[in-house]
């Protein structure tokens, strides 16, 4: 086991410089591609231990290794649906160090009404871990 301790990494022309912090912060701490229809199926992931199906269009993503705080950034997308009024939702009260909730909402209705399952939902998490 060896540790390389440096302040800056750059190429041999002294360009494309990165600090260890930039490299650490630039890595996705978790990501997932899953099918939310029927029995929820994880297609591929990093640092996700499980998906909980909370009901139609409502999923909890649980991390294998927790985040340091709940102020991380989640980037989401989803597959095309038969109607174009769906939007991804995240519930701030369920935005935790160990998990987060993702919902597929009906943009024409109040939050939580008219949710729908989606056959491909992608999420990437960036932040402190």
């Amino acid at each position: 086991m060896s540790t390389l301790k440096v302040n800056t990494i750059q190429n041999t022309s002294a360009a494309h410089s990165s600090t260890p912090e930039q490299i650490e912060q630039g890595r996705a701490k978790a990501w997932i591609n899953f099918d939310g229809t029927g029995t929820v199926a994880i297609q591929d992931n990093f640092n996700v231990s499980s998906i909980t199906d909370n009901g139609t269009g409502n999923y909890t993503i649980t991390y294998t290794n927790a985040m340091s705080d709940a102020n991380y950034s989640a980037v989401l997308s989803y597959n095309i649906q038969s109607v174009n009024d769906r939007v991804c939702g995240t519930d701030s009260s369920n935005y935790l160090t160990t998990s987060m909730r993702v919902t597929i909402e009906d943009a024409t209705q109040a939050y939580g009404n008219g949710r729908a399952d989606c056959n491909r939902i992608c999420v990437a998490i960036f932040g402190d871990q």
């Binding site: 190429n11 297609q43 597959n79 109607v83 174009n84």
Partner: protein, 132 residues
């Protein structure tokens, strides 16, 4: 202050990048495999591992990856996570971004006008990150 000047940090395994681990050997995050920001005209403004954007029509694009996406075992994968966001349409309409398809070499993205399944719209800024 110390600076490591290198041309390449190379993995010991083909098609599998080096892992970032803490002192306990737990992997802490993975680098994104591709990203791109492009205008609604399919003009690439910044990117990594994206060779081109194919404009399939208004609000309909294919992102073509320079190097195929691979999973943790180094095998080409169609199961990447493609996250797509948009900022403002070019004609002021409200749109929602969808990822139509994902393969190891390309991903099709579409932006539909809200509540109109027949009408797509271009957006001033399209941002995509890809992990696999």
């Amino acid at each position: 202050m110390s600076t490591l000047n290198v041309g390449t940090i190379k993995s010991i395994a083909a098609n599998i990048p080096p892992a970032f681990q803490d002192s306990a050997g737990t992997e802490k995050g993975q680098l994104v495999k591709a990203f791109v920001r492009f205008a609604g005209t399919s003009t690439i403004q910044n990117s990594f591992n994206v060779s081109s954007i194919t404009d399939n029509g208004t609000g309909d694009f294919n992102i073509n990856f320079a190097s195929a996406l691979r999973d943790s075992s180094g095998t080409a994968t169609d199961n990447a996570a493609v996250c797509y966001t948009i900022v403002g349409t070019t004609n002021g309409e409200h749109t929602v971004p969808y990822v139509n398809s994902i393969s190891s070499t390309t991903s099709r993205l579409e932006a539909f006008v809200t509540n109109n399944s027949a009408l797509r719209a271009d957006n001033s800024i399209n941002s995509v990150i890809v992990t696999s």
